[in-house]
């Protein structure tokens, strides 16, 4: 009798238990002298995830990575770092099951490529024959010909090649977590884009957790399963690329990722599920949200690609409308950007307009034109704080 009760309970508890996070930070802080680089940080990374730490210089993302690697010690104030559910705070870097790729590659200059890659294997007392095979496989994995590159010295390689060797060296020891500290920062644009795709493919092949630090938001959006946006030592928002880009929760995130236009005002009245927000001579509508009452201060972000430029009098019915004057039309190749000065506030807003070929079908607007900027109320991102 009891057995038949136990089994379903066991089954349900097994199903309900979430997988152990590959990496977990619980209230971790790091202070350097009088600066708090990381402030009570908490986050979880799922196994096999491509997780990015994104933010401007000095936001604490590299410090966070180094705390995870064991290259820095967290403040002793009760915070904990866990890998696969086990606390690692007292473990030295060489005792943790991870490896790292550095921004400037950190290849050992006095060792050949093959010996660089073999370094980690030697530390693990892997026998020589197996070392040779694994080194060869690792180099092949990063698309470097072992015969051709094995005996070269790092000084003879280009930046991209060095980065691949660094990757091979980190991967050959088969870590469960790979840390990457702005690895593509010193590489030129075209090669960078190619290597981004290679990294993504690599993660799919290997299935290990990648933790990636970058200040390039486009790179983070391209590569990641989830992104943690950081500012001043704190995580400001975590989510998938779409969530971060399309639903930024604060002005900081809205501005750091892509471009945003910001509008603010006071909530005036509600009608048909839309709140009217107004300021000075400006009025626009947003969908009703919990937490807005008459008189609330509201700030909204609108991305340039959600705006449209219309001639005065030609506006679609339900949309928000803001009269403005064209200050400049900027040619960006794929798109054009119309920089317009809002008549009511004097501030500039940017609109991204697809480029249909300026030689065949040029844009109708030029500096000085009177226009109306329009967008749908639903395309407004209500932000968490006031911003003026």
């Amino acid at each position: 009798m009891k057995v038949s009760l136990v089994l379903p309970i066991a089954y349900f508890s097994r199903v309900k238990k979430p997988p152990i996070p590959s990496v977990e930070f619980r209230g971790v802080s790091k202070t350097f002298g009088s600066t708090r680089a990381v402030a009570s940080l908490s986050l979880e990374v799922a196994p096999g995830e491509f997780f990015s730490l994104l933010g401007p210089s000095g936001c604490g993302k590299t410090t966070t990575l180094r705390l995870l690697a064991g290259l820095e010690e967290p403040d002793r104030d009760g915070g904990a770092i866990l890998i696969d559910g086990a606390p690692v705070t007292d473990l030295r870097p060489y005792e943790r099951d991870l490896s790292m790729v550095f921004q400037h590659y950190a290849l050992f200059p006095h060792l050949s490529v093959a010996r660089n890659v073999a370094f980690g294997l030697e530390q693990r007392s892997v026998p020589a024959a197996e070392r040779t095979t694994r080194v060869r496989d690792a180099l092949a994995l990063v698309r470097l010909n072992p015969e051709q590159f094995g005996n070269r010295m790092p000084s003879e390689l280009s930046g991209g090649q060095r980065q691949r060797v660094a990757l091979a060296r980190a991967l050959v020891i088969e870590p469960s977590i790979l840390l990457l500290d702005e690895p593509l920062g010193a590489i030129d644009l075209k090669l960078r884009k190619q290597m981004q795709l290679e990294l993504k493919a690599l993660k799919r092949t290997l299935g290990i957790t990648f933790i990636y630090v970058t200040h390039d938001q486009e790179e983070a959006l391209t590569l990641s399963d989830r992104i943690a946006v950081m500012d001043h030592g704190e995580v400001v928002q975590i989510g998938g690329p779409a969530e971060i880009y399309e639903s930024p929760r604060s002005a900081f995130v809205a501005e750091f990722i892509g471009e945003s236009n910001f509008l603010s005002g006071t909530a005036l009245r509600e009608q048909d599920g839309l709140w009217t927000i107004g300021r000075d001579d400006l009025e626009f509508r947003i969908p009703a949200q919990p937490g807005i009452a008459t008189g609330s201060s509201v700030t909204v972000a609108v991305r340039p690609e959600w705006l449209r430029v219309c001639a005065p009098g030609q506006t679609p019915g339900n949309a928000n409308m803001i009269p403005a004057t064209v200050r400049e039309v900027v040619y960006l190749g794929e798109t054009l950007q119309v920089v317009a000065e809002v008549t009511a506030t004097g501030k500039a807003m940017r609109v991204t307009v697809p480029n249909e070929g300026q030689l065949k079908n040029p844009i109708a607007w030029k500096t000085g034109d009177e226009i109306v900027l329009t967008w749908l109320p639903g395309d407004s991102q209500v932000l968490e704080e006031n911003w003026s």
Partner: protein, 259 residues
């Protein structure tokens, strides 16, 4: 730098160069002179070198200087490297004080160093001999080594060591397999400098040496004071040859390391 060198500047520089090297070259040249009184050239001879090998005091001095020099170089380099690592890698209380203290030997006149050590040994009733010479040589060499290696450490890329740590190497393995290979040119330069300082030292050695022990510089000093025999030239030439060789070795090594 732009432009050509003004004529007069080249002349001055050239003369100074000559001034620096001519006396030594002449000295070496005359070590082959068959005349005893250096009044004129009397023909080529190796007599003085042969005489040198028949002088037990010179040979003993040479052997002793080599022995002390090598030992001092090894000890100073090990201690100096460790000190440089401690000063440049870590923050700790009293670091600035230690660093200043380390600079003191560099600016203390040799005579003061020699005398103070003599005073110490006398106060502690330690008899003077090879041991006290060695102690003194290491004492003034450490700082030189530390400065040279410290300069190299300061310019070293730390991420190399961090990479080694993340790849599974503990601190000792990292030191041996990553840090020291990077520091090697500095270590070699420091060791060679320590050897040369020890091998050539007269002032400090003269104060802390016992009556029975004479390093080569002490022997040379005695010879220079006493007589005019060209054997001194021969000994000098040998010493010069040794140091020149060392310099070339040091230079060659540092050029390999720079790649």
């Amino acid at each position: 730098m732009t432009g050509r060198l003004p004529r007069w500047l080249g002349v001055v520089a050239g003369s100074v160069f000559l001034f620096l090297h001519l006396p030594i070259l002449i000295l070496v040249a005359f070590s082959f002179n068959a005349s005893r009184f250096s009044a004129g050239w009397n023909g080529f001879t190796l007599d003085w070198y042969r005489a040198m090998t028949r002088r037990p005091d010179i040979l003993r001095g040479l052997y002793l200087s080599l022995e002390i020099g090598l030992t001092s170089a090894v000890i100073s380099t090990v201690l100096g490297t460790a000190l440089a690592l401690a000063l440049h890698r870590y923050r700790f209380r009293g670091r600035a004080t230690l660093e200043s203290m380390m600079y003191v030997p560099l600016v203390t006149p040799e005579i003061v160093v020699g005398i103070s050590l003599l005073a110490l040994f006398a106060a502690l009733n330690i008899s003077l001999g090879v041991g006290t010479i060695l102690i003194a040589h290491v004492a003034f060499s450490i700082s030189f080594v530390t400065v040279i290696i410290g300069a190299r450490l300061a310019g070293m890329d730390r991420s190399l060591e961090e990479a080694a740590l993340t790849l599974g190497a503990d601190e000792f393995t990292t030191l041996v397999r990553v840090t020291i290979p990077q520091l090697l040119p500095g270590i070699v330069a420091g060791a060679l400098l320590a050897f040369t300082l020890s091998f050539d030292d007269y002032v400090i050695t003269s104060f802390v040496t016992g009556s029975g022990t004479s390093t080569l510089p002490v022997v040379i000093y005695g010879m220079v004071r006493r007589t005019i025999e060209p054997t001194v030239n021969a000994v000098s030439a040998v010493v010069l040859g040794m140091t020149t060789l060392l310099i070339y070795v040091a230079d060659w090594i540092s050029r390999r390391g720079a790649k």
